[in-house]
């Protein structure tokens, strides 16, 4: 038995609205199937399931808005069923038993508050949900035994908070996305001690190789230089893997897979950063296909849950039209962000000559709790070296 939960599609998401089901009770689902659509502040997301089995029960109906972590459906997983069938009740009639008083609890239910504030009496699952939703348990009153705050108490508080926020529904998507970005970025700047590095990279080898490569290719198969940048970043992370990590519960958790979040600006304002999965293991052609697909879907508003929830690092490129340098703000819980400015023709010293070269400025914003400038520098050097050998990317 598995629960299909409202996913957290980004660190700033606390509630989601179920738009609709693509499956019904009794349908078979497979890990990776898209089974529901969810509206978040940022976009409408196609949500994938992580279990294989049969939908046993649907718990949340389209239109309902629920906190992250709420069970949306129950999925009965596959596995050999045990041989025992149900059992008829025991035939031995027992006398109605006199009540056995349960032993007095060994620990008083309301311990004296220690110095530094009273201890909150809350169940583990309730504590976890409250932390996930950013609800302060000290403000809740518990309905469990001895006044313990239960899961239901936290769920009620979350619903009440959603209800209070309901008038905001009228504000359009762009404003809500602005709000979501504001929350995430404010948290980032409040919590993450950023450090910044930058380096200039001669792009002539990469661009020459790309021109030659694209000459051989039909329009559909052509590459954009952005894909070379992405692949170089993904491969450089192997050398400095601590940048490919998530900051969870007070410590950095290195991620084994490189899922590059690519910042995509939406024309009506705001941005999303869906993941290109396993970017370090994809060929340039595969990465190009993934990249094109995700950009198109981001702008059409049909991203998938896994793409929004699991990037391990973000890459932002302000494109060919804009400025030379971008120092980005890290998207929590990630611990680094790589930025690229536009490619500009610049005077460049090469073998004692001043020549004109297409140059791009690569920057790194990184979390100083997790890495230091020396390692960050090694990372940018590695990106540079990789871009000097585009044929090996």
């Amino acid at each position: 038995m598995a629960e299909f939960l409202m996913p957290q599609l980004g660190a700033d998401m606390s509630v989601g609205k179920l738009l609709g089901w693509r499956k019904k009770v009794g349908d078979r689902v497979q890990r990776g199937d898209i089974i529901a659509d969810v509206e978040t502040d940022k976009a409408d997301i196609e949500v994938e399931v992580f279990a294989t089995g049969t939908i046993e029960k649907i718990l949340v109906q389209p239109g309902e808005k629920v906190p992250v972590g709420t069970a949306l459906a129950i999925i009965s997983e596959e596995g050999p069923s045990p041989g025992a069938g149900p059992v008829p009740p025991s035939p031995s009639p027992e006398h109605a038993a006199p009540t056995i008083p349960s032993p007095a609890p060994l620990i008083p239910t309301a311990p004296a508050p220690p110095a530094g504030g009273p201890r909150v009496h809350i169940s583990p699952v309730a504590r976890k949900l409250a932390a996930d939703l950013g609800i302060n348990p000290a403000r809740l009153s518990g309905t469990g035994p001895g006044g313990r705050i239960t899961l239901e108490d936290v769920q009620h508080a979350a619903q009440a908070r959603t209800a209070e926020a309901a008038p905001e529904e009228k504000i359009d998507r762009a404003a809500r996305m602005r709000q979501a970005i504001a929350t995430a970025m404010a948290r980032s700047k409040r919590e993450i001690p950023h450090y910044y590095l930058s380096t200039e990279i001669d792009m002539s080898r990469s661009l020459d190789w790309l021109t030659g490569e694209n000459l051989k290719r039909s329009v559909e198969d052509r590459l954009v230089y952005g894909v070379l940048l992405l692949k170089a970043v993904a491969l450089a992370l192997r050398k400095v893997p601590e940048l490919n990590a998530l900051w969870i519960e007070g410590k950095a958790t290195p991620r084994p897979d490189v899922h590059l979040g690519v910042a995509i600006s939406l024309r009506d304002g705001g941005l999303v950063a869906p993941a290109l999965h396993h970017a370090d293991r994809r060929s340039l052609d595969e990465l190009m296909r993934d990249f094109r697909d995700v950009v198109q879907r981001a702008r059409a508003g049909s991203l998938r849950s896994s793409e929004l929830s699991d990037p391990t690092i973000t890459v932002t490129s302000l494109g060919e039209q804009g400025v030379e340098t971008v120092f980005g703000v890290i998207y929590p819980p990630q611990v680094a962000l790589v930025g690229f400015g536009k490619i500009a023709e610049r005077p460049w010293s090469s073998e004692g000559q001043i020549v004109s070269r297409p140059v791009i400025t690569a920057t790194l914003s990184a979390d100083h709790r997790v890495s230091d400038g020396h390692r960050g520098g090694l990372f940018l050097v590695a990106v540079n070296q990789l871009l000097q050998k585009p044929e090996e990317l």
């Binding site: 329009v219 559909e220 094109r292």
Partner: protein, 83 residues
């Protein structure tokens, strides 16, 4: 293929790339990219769209000729009639 058909095709492909843009406001002699805030991926999708609709090969070196609406109409008309 008439100039009007080419014009319709260009607008249809642009519309697919940026459904929210008001194409009637585009000035025919100014950069499409600047007016619509397109990035390199959009441009690639634009060229791929034109290729699919009109069956013309567009080498990368010709991309600058597609920078304005009028440039697109002229370039595509010449490619189409040459083909």
């Amino acid at each position: 293929m008439t100039k009007e058909q080419i014009r319709e095709t260009v607008f249809r492909v642009l519309g697919q790339i940026a459904p929210e843009a008001n194409l009637n406001h585009l000035k025919p002699d100014r950069s499409i990219r600047d007016q619509m805030d397109l990035d390199s991926m959009d441009l690639l999708n634009f060229v791929v769209g034109l290729h699919k609709e009109l069956q013309v090969e567009i080498p990368e070196s010709d991309y600058p000729k597609l920078s304005t609406l009028n440039g697109c109409f002229d370039y595509l008309a010449s490619r189409k009639n040459a083909a």
